[in-house]
Amino acid sequence: MDLSQFVAALTPFNIALALFGVIAGTVVGSIPGLTATMALAVLVPVTFSMDPASALILLGAIYTGAIYGGAYAAILLNTPGTPSAIATTFDGYPMAKRGDGDLAVALACFASVFGGMVGALALLFLAPPLSKVALAFGPVEYFWLSVFGLSLIASLSNGNLMKGLAGGAFGMILSTVGVAEISADIRLTFGSQTLIGGFGVVGALIGLYCIPVLIDLVAVPDRHLKVEENVKSVRIGDAFRLALQSKFNLIRSSVIGTLVGILPGAGGSVAGLVAYSEAKRTAKPHQKFGEGEPDGIMATESANSATVGGGFIPTLVLGIPGTPPDAIVLGALLVQGVRTGPAMFTQSGSIVYTFIYGLLIATILMLPIGLLIGRYAYKSIVTIPKAVLVPTVGFMTIIGTFSIRNSVSDVIIMLCLGVFGWVVARFGFAASPIVLGLILGPIAEQGFVQGWTIGAATHNLFGMFFGRPISQAILAFTLVTLILPVILARKSKDRMGAES
């Protein structure tokens, strides 16, 4: 590594590309249904007529921007623009509801830039050693990681554990519909062609989160979000102070995001959820997660942005892409004749380092751009009359869902899930546990089946599931997450009993 690649990355043309990429990515990411994968897939041919490093900078910038853009819809419409932003809705939307949407958007921007920097720096300095993390994670580790993720349901469903668990179980059942990923069985389709593709996560997100918001917007006469008359711009100063106070949360969440990002098959949504769960577990007593706690947004957004850099570590070092966008960048690299693998950093070093520097530059550019776009996004969502907002968003949900894989079935499934989500919400069932089950179900199932197959073949089932150090650590975290709140609740109850 030397600085000549940094200078190479800093040409005006490359900076212009990074600027364009971040803007385009943010806009794409903010629209539910339009994903970074799609934007990248369309733009890859550009890399053929361009200097490879420049083209890669463009692709990296779009990816970074898209992950951040997902936060807008999460905060302002309670709809994660990308799966990575699921946990952003938990506190982001409550903040927007009470009139702090501008603050939430600015916080998300600071956290994303911080997380993105941590991930990119890890990629720059620690890629070869960190890539071993990807290999240390076997089927059983993925199984326990998803169980850990599911344990979040307990802390998410404040006081309504049974309903939360029922939602999670329902989500896991939904995840089994269609052609099973590894066993190739066709399950629970009841002979219907509509269901053969299963319940896609992005479509389910749009249905379960966005449709109920739309129905409520029509059903309730109030304004969409509370607006304070005197506030004219995004509260950058407040947000910066809050971010500074939460530096430990930001660092921890970014490290979690980087590490989870390295695991192929986990991704931004799991990273955001794990970081959120850790932030909540270590919360101070006055912090109310789930009711508009700024730390919740910062944990999720820094973690999911850190997965961008983290995800490129196995992609570049091992040639194993962690996420679909990584896979597309890997494809672009292969067509350019770059051979991935441990030798890549020495053989094709200049392209790779220029790309990493470009990713860093794009992340830094995201700060001004994100704040600027955030301001307009907030203002337009707040000031737009309901009569315009509802049809616009409604139209977007349908187009967005259809565009995932040009499938009308997906649109039908999305609308049905939306109405279903709205109805069960009347009875106290939240959308998040269902979505958690839908995302984590397949990871848990595959990990379990593979772990069991290997364990049975080697006559060591118990050791397979409980004897491996990483598994034990994840299991311990899960138990702490599950049991600690119960003990704390009992203690505070005792204290209250003693006082009265």
């Binding site: 994968t37 799609m38 897939a41 369309v42 890859v44 041919p45 053929f48 990807a134 290999l135 240390a136 994670f137 076997g138 089927p139 269609g178 052609v179 990923e181 590894i182 066993s183 190739a184 066709i186 002979g191 062609q193 053969i196 593709g197 299963g198 896609g200 192929p264 098959g265 196995p314 091992l318 040639g319 194993i320 892409p321 679909p324 990584d326 896979a327 597309i328 890997l330 494809g331 672009a332 292969l334 067509v335 004749g337 051979r339 991935t340 693998g341 441990p342 030798a343 894989r405 040009n406 499938s407 079935s409 595959q446 089946v449 593979q450 197959t453 290997i454 049975a456 073949a457 080697t458």
Partner: protein, 317 residues
């Protein structure tokens, strides 16, 4: 850079030489190339390799998009509903399009698909890590015979090319190995490199991608792969195995005979480009040239072979 200029010149010459032929003229705009899987797999990579050659030879963009779902079934079931004017094509994979419809009604049959060219295949291969105790195929067979079931082998999916190869090989060698299905080749390789399994049923492309990190014990080809002159074929070692996962491209069945012919010629032209072939072979792929007129015979042969294998393996009734 020089190479790119050379390619542009070559493309220009090719276009001038083809002026009299109507083939390229029938394409009015960009072509949508649908991959019925997610990005990053062998189908995606080979399509990405075709993309620049198509643009250079025929002057139109090939726009790749992904429609994953149902192990490809979502895409293939939708293919014949798409416009057949030649501006939409879709990748097809063997054995998927043969095994899937034989298992259950998945919205398409093998015969429904208007496959006009099979352009490559990834030969089956047994892959182990560089530091594995299995130095040769014989080592693995010996271990599998001494410890029935304890040799675990990762692979991509069930009822897939990898799985069929495992079953077939076990039968030939008289061994009992344990097949562990993963979601795609990438995950199966990760499991191998992380030593979760003792070996992998993969393809020659894995050997090309992972380089020194892995060793291939044998490849299922008639002759050795040019990229791996030191890796024996199964046939050399006494196992009559040759084949793998075949990939091609299909049009909606509403496409006219002329359109199908045009596409078959175009993909054939790319396939015979020396630079394209080199890129594919360097990636570990094996070339295949089955054009539209030979497709029916080729498919009939494969259908019989795969259905027999799958029936014997108990994967279909």
């Amino acid at each position: 850079m020089l190479k790119r200029h050379f390619l542009q010149c070559a493309a220009a010459i090719a276009i001038f030489a083809n002026v009299g032929i109507a083939s390229a003229a029938e394409l009015k705009g960009p072509v949508s190339y649908v991959i019925p899987f997610g990005p990053g797999g062998e189908s995606d990579i080979s399509a990405r390799f075709q993309q620049p050659f198509f643009k250079e030879k025929f002057g139109k963009d090939l726009v790749i998009s992904y429609q994953p779902g149902g192990g490809g079934a979502v895409g293939w079931a939708s293919l014949n509903g798409l416009n057949g004017d030649g501006h939409t094509i879709m990748g097809v994979n063997l054995p998927h399009i043969i095994i899937k419809p034989a298992q259950k009604d998945v919205g398409f049959t093998t015969a429904d698909l208007n496959t006009f060219y099979m352009f490559h295949y990834t030969p089956d291969a047994i892959v182990v890590t560089a530091d594995s105790p299995y130095k040769t195929l014989a080592d693995l067979v010996a271990d599998a015979k001494a410890n029935p079931g304890e040799v675990t082998m990762s692979g991509s999916g069930k009822a897939s090319a990898n799985h069929l190869a495992q079953i077939k090989f076990d039968k030939m060698a008289g061994t009992l190995t344990t097949y562990v299905p993963f979601k795609g080749t990438g995950a199966a390789v990760t499991a191998l490199l992380g030593k979760q399994t003792k070996a992998e049923w993969g393809y020659t492309t894995v050997g090309a991608k992972q380089g020194d990190a892995v060793r291939m014990l044998a490849v299922a080809m008639d002759e050795r792969h040019p990229l791996f002159p030191d890796v024996p074929t199964f046939k050399e070692l006494g196992y009559d195995m040759s084949g793998g996962a075949y990939r091609g491209i299909a049009l909606p069945n509403t496409a006219s005979a002329e359109t199908t012919k045009m596409w078959s010629d175009m993909i054939g032209e790319i396939n015979n480009d020396a630079d394209f072939r080199k890129q594919m072979l360097d990636g570990g792929f094996a070339m295949l040239d089955v054009s539209a007129e030979d497709m029916d015979a080729f498919m009939a042969e494969r259908v019989e072979e795969y259905l027999n294998d799958a029936r014997e393996a108990g994967l279909i009734k």
